[in-house]
């Protein structure tokens, strides 16, 4: 739990010696609380105070970063139970499971497909984060070969899971300067796994079906000097998984209970498990299988749940073509607030009528708000028209403004000579009617 300025002040020498560069210890404490200076700037702070301050500065859920050549996947550092309280920070990494029993060629081709998978959602490219290799044959050489097959087509981060820690060595030796996740350590094998994690600088997954057991294990493993841990609470069913995840998050955030202050991982086979893991607190997901038609909605869900509710969600400004428009079809103008965009795009989409939807950069505000704030005016609209090269692209130059800014039509006409400026409906829901009654008529 982060300390307040006053709490920090009590731990300082309170001599106002000014050697830290601040006029008083209190001023320095305030800066520390705001994380704007380092404690080392104070030459006289006691060892005891130092330990206490460092402890309090640690995040309640440790940040774990899996690394490979060119990629990083982070989990942890979360501070709230509900996204509306602030935001969820680190999107849970999505890893697809591959088994060592699979034929090498199959592994290669599937890993390649997973590696290449990329889907565009509102201008953002969404991808799978990496691979989880399972030692289902219990053969170290097969495990090593599977990992080699993956590495021949992809450099994305890996997780390696086996019931036998001694099987992992040969596979891990192939990884060069990476931080993989290995596991799962249990009450029976944690010592060997801890040694392995230490030797290969890997993060370690710790598995148990009870929170008490998880806490005991992490403390023991920490005692061995391994601190990059990931918790794998094994629920007996979906509801039990939700309870365990909720309890772990609460213990970390509300009780500041360090033994479970680590991100969690969920092994998912059903869609319900995947949805729940994304919405309710998992830091990593291991998916049983790979299918485009499921990855796409999952990646979108993750994106949605992890958007910052305090910032208006923006879509990329620019030209969006809906229903295959021709150069003679109308240009509809709106702003880049995502909900505004979605309302308009959805209505046009489902109407079946073609449109060039011009999304202007209104700093993520809705039409009326942006207009009132001066972020959606004739000048900006004209600029967007030119940026999208519409003068060239469109032969029948019809520009439809949102009804809420009808007042702009004169100015827009002045800015864009040669364009026929129309005032559309105030509400997106009336767009199909507007097409039918106005745009289709003349």
């Amino acid at each position: 739990m982060a300390l307040t300025g006053i709490q920090i002040y009590k731990l300082l020498p309170q001599t106002n010696c000014k050697e830290c560069g601040f006029p008083t210890c209190l001023a320095f404490a305030m800066k520390l609380a705001a994380k704007q200076v380092e404690l080392s700037a104070c030459p006289y702070v006691s060892e005891e105070a130092k330990a206490q301050l460092e402890e309090s500065a640690a995040p309640p859920i440790r940040l774990i970063t899996l690394k490979s050549n060119g990629y990083e996947v982070k989990a942890g550092n979360e501070v709230v139970m509900f996204r509306h309280e602030k935001t969820f920070y680190n999107k849970p990494g999505l890893f697809v499971k591959l088994q060592s029993s699979a034929l090498e060629e199959e592994v290669k081709s599937l890993a390649k497909r997973i590696h290449d998978y990329c889907v565009n959602y509102v201008g953002i490219e969404l991808q799978v984060d990496g691979f989880a290799v399972e030692d289902d044959t219990h053969q170290p050489d097969k495990l090593k070969a599977t990992l080699a097959a993956i590495r021949s087509v992809s450099n994305k981060p890996v997780m390696i899971f086996s019931d036998y820690p001694e099987n992992l060595g040969p596979a891990l030796e192939q990884l060069d300067n990476e931080v993989p996740l290995i596991g799962c350590a249990t009450s029976d094998n944690w010592e060997k796994f801890a040694d392995l994690a230490k030797r290969f600088k890997a993060a370690l997954a710790v598995k148990a079906d009870q929170i008490e057991t998880l806490a005991e294990l992490t403390e023991k493993i920490k005692g061995k000097g391994v601190e990059d841990l990931v918790l794998v609470p094994m629920g007996k069913n979906l509801g039990h998984e939700l309870m365990l995840q909720t309890q772990l998050r609460r213990l970390a955030l509300k009780a500041n209970y360090r033994p479970v202050g680590y991100p969690t991982l969920a092994f998912c086979s059903s869609q319900a498990q995947m949805v729940q893991a994304i919405a309710k607190y998992a830091g990593f997901l291991v998916l049983d299988a790979f299918a485009e038609d499921l990855l796409y909605p999952l990646l979108v869900l993750r994106q949605n749940i992890y958007t910052d509710p305090q910032k208006p969600i923006q879509v990329q400004p620019g030209l969006y073509e809906i229903n295959n428009p021709q150069p003679t079809d109308p240009v509809l103008v709106t702003t880049n607030f995502s909900i505004t965009y979605f309302s308009v795009a959805n209505e046009v989409e489902s109407s079946g009528y073609p449109a060039h939807l011009l999304v202007t950069d209104a700093e993520g505000m809705s039409v009326l708000t942006a207009w009132a704030a001066g972020k959606f005016d004739a000048e900006r609209i004209a600029k967007a028209v030119r940026a999208a090269n519409l003068e060239e692209k469109i032969t029948r130059k019809r520009l439809v403004l949102p009804g809420a800014v009808a007042v702009l039509s004169g100015e827009v006409e002045a800015e864009l000579p040669g364009w026929e400026v129309r005032v559309g409906p105030r509400e997106a829901v009336d767009i199909p009617k507007f097409y039918k009654q106005v745009l289709q008529v003349n």
């Binding site: 509801g239 609460r250 038609d293 949605n304």
Partner: protein
């Protein structure tokens, strides 16, 4: 190492609302459905009661819909021209409730008359023993005309009538009160607007346990994060004791997901979207599952396969009850 699990003690709880009436209660339903009653957040059995599981409603229309995805038309192709058969098929597909959405026009393209609406509602009531929700076509005047006729013709059935919105709720609330029905109050993704409409409706004299609220959600990819957080905030407010937020929540992931391009369109879309039918069903299923995690008490779905998956998930979420004592 004993660990003390932090538990919340909530002063408030969600109201229970019962849909449908048995013959002994003045209706004709073979079974009734009770939702609500939670004394904690969704499925946290270790600190409170979840007395009633969320339920799944299947949405049917009074005639073959004009604007539904061809995938849905295919799924219901044998029954889509007959609301009674459709309702029976929906019950067979696992629905706990039927939602009958009336159309603006009949199959000949003429405006739906109150007589037709009543006939269709009665046919559906005859074909299924499940409780029924009846929605107007979504235009205030038409809704009022059709719903009043339906409400009067089905007195005592404890239907849920919708949609009440801030601009049009009085007529629907009045007829529900007079005929022993419930209403659905819909507001656009906003905690305060939801509260306000519940206040307006209950001020007319309809008891709170006759109101379901629909906070509107958006589909996956189309604003679901707003709906999700509004639902979480409404549920937290309810548990904290704010009376006007203590109504069970009904949401429409079927409607939302099936108007998304991802579900509607099969051609000319990116290859990364994968198989159309699987994707469309996944879109609906994932939307619904997300909303259930946020506290939905009734999810209204359209595809039978989504119904199966969502029901299986609810069962597993409720099964955890036995793990805590």
């Amino acid at each position: 190492m004993p660990v003390e699990i932090p538990k919340e003690k909530w002063p408030g709880s969600v109201l229970t609302v019962t849909l449908g009436a048995l013959p002994s209660e003045g209706g004709t339903r073979k079974r009734v459905v009770t939702v609500g009653g939670e004394t904690t957040l969704p499925f946290l059995h270790f600190e409170g009661e979840i007395p009633n599981p969320p339920v799944v409603a299947i949405e049917i229309k009074d005639r073959k819909p004009d604007d539904w995805s061809p995938l849905l038309l295919e799924a219901w192709k044998d029954v889509i021209d007959d609301p009674a058969q459709w309702a029976a098929a929906a019950e067979a597909a696992g629905a706990d409730l039927i939602v009958l959405a009336l159309s603006l026009t009949n199959r000949n393209g003429e405006p739906t008359t109150p007589e037709e609406a009543v006939a269709n509602v009665k046919a559906v009531l005859g074909a299924t023993g499940l409780p029924l929700i009846v929605l107007g076509p979504g235009q205030a005047e038409v809704d009022n005309t059709l719903l009043v006729a339906v409400s009067e013709a089905t007195k005592g059935e404890r239907l849920a009538l919708g949609i009440c919105e801030d601009k049009n709720y009085r007529t629907i609330v009045a007829t529900a009160m007079a005929n022993g029905h419930l209403v659905i109050a819909r507001t656009p993704m906003d905690v305060n607007l939801a509260k306000q409409l519940n206040i307006l409706i209950s001020d007319m004299g309809l008891p709170l346990n006759c109101i379901l609220m629909d906070p509107t959600t958006g589909a996956l990819g189309y604003g679901i994060e707003y709906g999700y957080s509004v639902m979480e905030r409404l549920r937290l407010a309810a548990l904290q004791g704010d009376k006007m937020t203590q109504l069970p929540m009904i949401v429409t992931p079927g409607f939302e997901a099936w108007k998304a391009k991802e579900s509607k369109v099969g051609e000319g879309v990116p290859k990364a979207w994968g198989d159309w039918l699987s994707r469309a069903i996944n879109w609906e299923t994932l939307t619904a599952l997300t909303l259930i995690e946020a506290g939905a008490d009734i999810v209204v779905l359209r595809h039978p396969e989504s119904v199966k998956r969502v029901k299986a998930a609810i069962e597993e979420l409720m099964a955890a009850k036995t793990l805590v004592s």
